[in-house]
């Protein structure tokens, strides 16, 4: 067994983890010091989440050693991990929506707290210690994301945690809420806690992290005090190649106005109006929950919205449901491909032909011969890796599954393609293929509305971006010629964003 210095709270050596077909982690080694805010940067798919899930006990490592607070950790569960003093606050938040704040802090420890009164009293104390004023009897479903995070921090403190891991905490926070969080982080540090802060936002890392580790493709590239990094060095190490090679050149075929949307109003959206030009990729930039998905769902007829107008090629079209959207020439790749996009037990062929059934039937009857060609055609055109078109689509990797959905729509050649997080959870190679595909679509006269939480992605792929904040369009920019900070300010609802 390794001996570690007492100033090291967590030592990871040569930890590896594989999933079927994917090497998620490759001999990762990092030493985390006590009382330090240790940032971990990396792009999506770099392995940060996987590493954290191994530490917290959701996954089990394949090999390597983990020593926490002097003790070697082998097989563990999330609860054991918390009891040892290692708490993790996930991006998706581990709270029960239907229960109160107090009960969530002490979930499963009702008896320890001596019932409801003890639970709420102790929760109150913990929340006060981090300056959170929310009532402990309020239901989680009624809280904002930043307040929910505070509840999670209170939960971590209730376990007398020594190390708190925060996984991308800032993706849904406003600037003020972020400032609150930073204050709490400094407070926790002063109390002697160690913090691991995971993010792909460099500004945050530079602001309050003491030591930074860079991860890429499942490996740790470097670990140094922040002061020894330059920004460019960090970016280069994160990305591993020059930016030009990560995205194809921006399409330059923007033409006249293809679609005009006027006045979408729902209880979440306020007076959304915009245009879309032929040959253009229009990006929607905003925080999680700002309303980007709501806008495209309203446009696609997926949600019941009235009172807005959509004009395509100058003519007014009525889109009241997805079928009418399809007829009007729209295609939609939804956010969650497993739940909303695919019929997992069905074959690759069936999933690809789903939207074009009318094309291969005559008088209401399906012509199998026509359908057979579709699967093969798209598999070839998009290089979908599958043993055959008859296998259940659940067997394919994420990237190939996504390609099936793209192929489904390509079959009917929509003029307007809506893509909601098209490269989420996809490995780097497949991402590039999808970018190339997107470019091809617009070069051939189509137009794409792109929603992505990956700022580099949406900024590099789009000709134009709209920033969306709290259900309103706060700005319209050309990413090629606008500084990133300006766009981000508008997306965070700060003054200075051009309307």
């Amino acid at each position: 067994m390794e001996t570690v210095g007492s100033d090291i709270i967590l030592s990871i050596k040569d930890v590896s983890k594989s999933f079927p077909g994917v090497h998620a982690l490759d001999k990762v080694s990092i030493d985390f010091r006590r009382g330090v805010v240790h940032g971990i940067v990396g792009e999506n798919g770099a392995g940060k989440s996987t590493l954290m899930k191994i530490l917290s006990g959701v996954y089990q490592k394949d090999s390597g050693s983990v020593v926490f607070d002097g003790r070697s950790i082998e097989h563990t569960t999330p609860y054991e991990s918390m009891q040892r003093g290692l708490a993790i606050i996930y991006q998706e938040l581990n709270l029960v929506n239907t229960m109160s704040v107090g009960e969530n802090v002490f979930l499963g420890r009702f008896k320890e707290m001596k019932g409801m009164r003890g639970t709420h009293a102790n929760a109150r104390k913990l929340l006060d210690s981090i300056g959170c004023k929310v009532s402990t009897t309020k239901l989680i479903s009624e809280l904002s994301v930043s307040t929910k995070q505070m509840v999670e921090i209170a939960k971590a403190l209730s376990f007398k945690s020594k190390l708190i891991i925060m996984d991308e905490p800032s993706s849904s926070l406003t600037a003020e809420e972020m400032a609150e969080l930073v204050k709490i982080i400094h407070q926790l540090k002063a109390q002697g806690l160690s913090i691991i802060y995971i993010s792909h936002k460099l500004d945050e890392i530079f602001e309050f992290c003491d030591i930074v580790s860079v991860m890429r493709d499942g490996r740790v590239i470097d670990t140094k005090p922040k002061s020894e990094f330059t920004r460019n060095e960090l970016i280069t190490k994160m990305v591993g190649r020059t930016i030009e090679n990560e995205y194809p050149p921006r399409p330059r075929s923007v033409g006249e106005t293809l679609m005009e949307v006027r006045s979408i109003n729902t209880h979440k959206l306020h007076d959304i109006s915009f245009t879309l030009k032929k040959g253009e990729i229009l990006g929607f930039v905003g925080l999680v929950g700002a309303g980007r998905t709501e806008i495209v769902r309203a446009l696609f007829g997926a949600d019941k919205v009235r009172g807005h107008r959509v004009l395509i090629n100058g003519k007014s079209v009525a889109i009241r449901n997805p079928r009418e959207a399809k007829d009007a020439g729209l295609g939609f790749i939804p956010e969650d491909r497993k739940l909303q996009g695919l019929v997992l037990p069905f074959s690759v062929e069936s999933n690809i032909s789903m939207a074009s059934v009318a094309n291969f039937s005559r008088f209401g009857f399906i012509r199998k011969s026509l359908e057979r060609g579709i699967g093969a055609r798209q598999v070839q055109a998009l290089s979908i890796k599958t043993p055959s078109t008859k296998v259940p689509v659940v067997n394919l990797s994420g990237g190939n599954q996504q390609k099936c959905i793209v192929g489904r729509w390509l079959e009917i050649s929509p003029s307007i393609f809506i893509m909601d997080e098209p490269t989420r959870g996809i490995d780097v190679g497949a991402k590039y293929e999808i970018y190339v595909l997107m470019r091809k679509i617009v070069e051939e006269g189509g137009a794409i509305i792109l929603i992505s939480s990956e700022l580099p992605e949406v900024l590099n792929m789009s000709n134009r971006v709209l920033t969306i904040f709290e259900g309103r369009i706060t700005g319209e920019f050309e990413p090629e010629s606008t500084p990133v900070d300006t766009i981000m300010s508008a997306a965070l609802g700060l003054r200075g964003g051009a309307a």
């Binding site: 999330p78 609860y79 029960v96 979930l107 499963g108």
Partner: protein
Amino acid sequence: MNGKGIGASLYSIVTRQKAFIFILVMLVGMIFSRSNFYSAYNLLDMLNSTSILLILSFGVTLTIIAGGCDLSIGGILVVSGILSIKLQDFMPMGWAILCAIVFGIAVGFVNGFLVVHQKTEPFIITLGMGLLLTGVAQELTNAHPVPAKNPAFMMIGNGDFHGVPNLVMIMAVCFALSYWLMRYTQFGRNLYAIGGDYDVARYSGIDVIRTKWLAFVISGGAAALAGVLLSSKLNTGSSIYGELTALVVNCGVVVGGTSFAGGIGGIPQSALGLLVFGMLDNAMNMLNITSYYQVMLKGAVIVGIIWMDCFANKRRREFV
């Protein structure tokens, strides 16, 4: 806010307190009927006849809050009722009753295995279990009600203590017990967590499998108790109460505000929901509505209430 805001909040009040509103409507309606509805005798009688259903509902509520449901309670009800009578031919009354309740617990255990351990859809598999037990019940009795021979047995369900019927008192004890269980014990709070978010509960160290399994065991036991009491009250073991009861009780729980989605609701809410049906039955009898119309009205009420629950869930649900 504006008119829209008022309408929306009114709507949410109606959908969340549907049981309360239904009862209010009935109470008001019955004022205008020229019947004995409001006599002390009738009100007590109403409570008495609903007691059995109430005891059933306390058990079922546990399973629904945990995110499942139990449609086998009708079958458990009849079989344990029959067992409690038939076994008295072989053993003293006390032991017969105990065996009948143990039977219910055993069925609950099997239900728990299938639903929690094997992860099958609860509603259809407990429905099948109920069917199985109904068949068993019919077989045991040859479809003829089995009369009880022990007068002491009959006293359990029909006697009273200073004017308060035994059944009502037993029901009150069950109410208090299950209320305490759900609100003041770790087990009960864990059930809410499991129903609210299974994975979060699991990650928090709650033994989700054992806890949810236990909910089904308790539901089975409660159903068996109700069965014994029903047999005692009618002084016969009969097989006819099966299917309809299961669905009515589950619906009643939903009426009261415990949603099939899990994680919300509670014992008092379920009691209120069952009272809706109990009051409906009683009111219909008071108004001398013929039995065919009664069945139709009950069916329409069930459809209406479940419809409202679905509609409310539709608004709660995010994306389809």
